[in-house]
């Protein structure tokens, strides 16, 4: 059975729903404390750095956690091809650790800067839409998604703006499809500003992978949209319609939600034995 470690760093708060989303697709998930011996990590096939506020975001979000021996070891495991997913605060850790985009190994090449939107500052929590492009990370993180599929996901961050001051890094991220997930309008057209683009990220990036495609830093929270009951009743579009139609049906509400694709993709990549799929929409 494929095994994933969900790393519990002081201050994270999404470890349990991340583990549940993995278990749901047949991946055995263990919540592992950040100070476990690093050698334990070699027993796992994949690693998830969940969302939250590691070390209370002191200095900068992800900056302190990025220096942990555990993260260094996860970087070594990623070099061996193991899969690493960082969601929200986990993405901030991966960026501060230089694992994404990892163009020049060991160098920090991006920042996740405070959100930038007209006359708006700070933390933003709502649903947005993303689309997966073509890139080295698609087979690992978006395999079940048709190319043109628009996916609604919840976001909740104050520092989610992917940014680089290095034009060469920007060019490579764009040219090589490392910005696997980009914010789009609900109809799939490019997000040309707030609110479709919630934070002003370069390339409207919501998620960026490394060149090998096995490490993803993703700002929206797929684990908070893993099942249909996670979808708000007032969400527009097909997922909102499915949610409203599912009212009163336990089996429908426990079926896959819009973020489920990512975990299904991981299960495919890791060769996990899928559990019997509950009814519900796939997307």
């Amino acid at each position: 059975m494929a095994r994933a470690a969900v790393i519990q760093i002081p201050g994270v708060n999404c470890e349990y729903e991340s583990a549940r989303a993995l278990e749901r697709v047949g991946i055995e998930a263990s919540i592992l404390r950040f100070n476990e011996p690093a050698s334990v990590l070699s027993e796992f096939d994949a690693f998830v750095l969940p969302g939250g506020f590691a070390f209370q975001d002191r200095i900068r979000a992800g900056a302190v956690a990025a220096k942990l021996p555990t993260i260094e070891r996860i970087g070594q495991e990623a070099e061996r091809g193991k899969v690493v997913l960082g969601v929200c605060n986990g993405a901030q850790v991966l960026v501060e650790a230089g694992l994404v985009p990892g163009i020049h190994p060991g160098r920090v090449e991006l920042a996740l800067a405070p959100n930038l939107a007209p006359r708006r500052q700070g933390y933003l929590c709502r649903w947005i839409h993303v689309r997966a492009g073509e890139g080295p990370g698609r087979a690992t993180f978006a395999a079940p998604l048709p190319a043109d599929r628009v996916v609604p996901l919840p976001m909740a961050h104050g520092e989610g703006r992917f940014l680089t001051a290095d034009p060469e890094v920007l060019r490579i991220v764009d040219d090589e499809g490392l910005a696997l997930f980009r914010y789009v309008a609900p109809d799939g057209t490019p997000a040309l500003g707030y609110p479709d683009d919630p934070n002003g990220a370069m390339l409207q990036a919501a998620g960026i992978t490394n060149r090998a495609g096995n490490v993803l830093a993703l700002m929206p929270h797929p684990e908070r949209a893993a099942v249909l009951k996670h979808v708000p009743l007032d969400l527009a579009g097909p997922w909102g319609e499915a949610r409203r139609a599912g009212v009163g049906s336990f089996s429908a509400l426990e079926g896959p939600g819009p973020g489920g694709f990512l975990f299904e993709s991981l299960a495919l990549r890791l060769g996990a034995a899928p559990r019997a799929a509950a009814p519900g929409r796939r997307g």
């Binding site: 070390f55 209370q56 002191r58 200095i59 900068r60 900056a63 302190v64 990025a66 220096k67 993260i71 260094e72 970087g75 501060e96 650790a97 230089g98 060991g106 160098r107 920090v108 090449e109 991006l110 920042a111 996740l112 800067a113 405070p114 930038l116 006359r119 500052q121 703006r161 940014l163 680089t164 001051a165 290095d166």
Partner: protein
């Protein structure tokens, strides 16, 4: 010339303590980080042709009586009036610093709106913000040896080097000797350097 407000916690600053702990692990052997202080710098720019002295009395009142800038239960502050602040920002004895600002701009429009709504200050054009990390380091020879400690504690380059600034989102200015206020004003007012090198 601008008026300057410097604010720091008077209760234990857990962010600074965490930075102290993380920074100590990054220093080369034989080097010490003995103290670290985080201070917020707020710059009040006068409109063209106006002296900061025109709004400073009202600003001092606003700082003292509002909760926009300072919570007196946990913070202390110094309001440096333009005419009295001296020519340069001088690091405290034995310390050096890093002044960090957002690459996306330093103006705090929301704070300006709120201040002007509740404490109208004639002649105030903008409010800019930055952060200072004050560091007390000691090298093997007993001096601060900021040059050797700076790569470990300054702009992050890798997990093994750099901590307090992410150069992709922040611009920064080293403060290891007195730095003129005019240079600090320019550093905050001008667009951040495109280069990944220090200002």
């Amino acid at each position: 010339m601008s008026a300057v407000l410097l604010v720091r916690l008077k209760i234990p600053d857990l962010t600074a303590l965490t930075a102290l702990d993380a920074g100590r692990k990054l220093l080369p052997q034989g080097y010490e980080l003995t103290r670290l202080v985080r201070e917020e710098l707020v710059l009040f720019e006068p409109s063209p042709g106006v002296s900061a002295g025109e709004f400073e009395p009202a600003l001092a009142h606003a700082v003292e009586t509002s909760n926009f800038f300072v919570n007196p239960n946990k913070e202390r502050y110094r309001l440096l009036r333009a005419a009295e602040r001296g020519p340069a920002l001088v690091p405290a004895e034995g310390s050096w610093g890093i002044l960090a600002r957002s690459r996306s701009g330093t103006e705090d429009l929301g704070l300006l709106d709120r201040l002007m709504r509740e404490h109208p200050l004639r002649g105030l054009r903008s409010i800019r913000r930055a952060r200072i990390w004050w560091l007390w380091t000691r090298g093997p020879e007993g001096d601060t040896d900021a040059d050797r400690c700076y790569p470990a504690l300054g702009p992050v380059k890798s997990t093994a080097s750099g901590l307090l600034v992410n150069p992709h989102s922040e611009g920064w200015l080293r403060l290891d000797s007195p730095v003129s206020w005019s240079r600090i004003e320019a550093f905050l007012a001008e667009p951040a350097s495109a280069a990944l090198e220090p200002a």
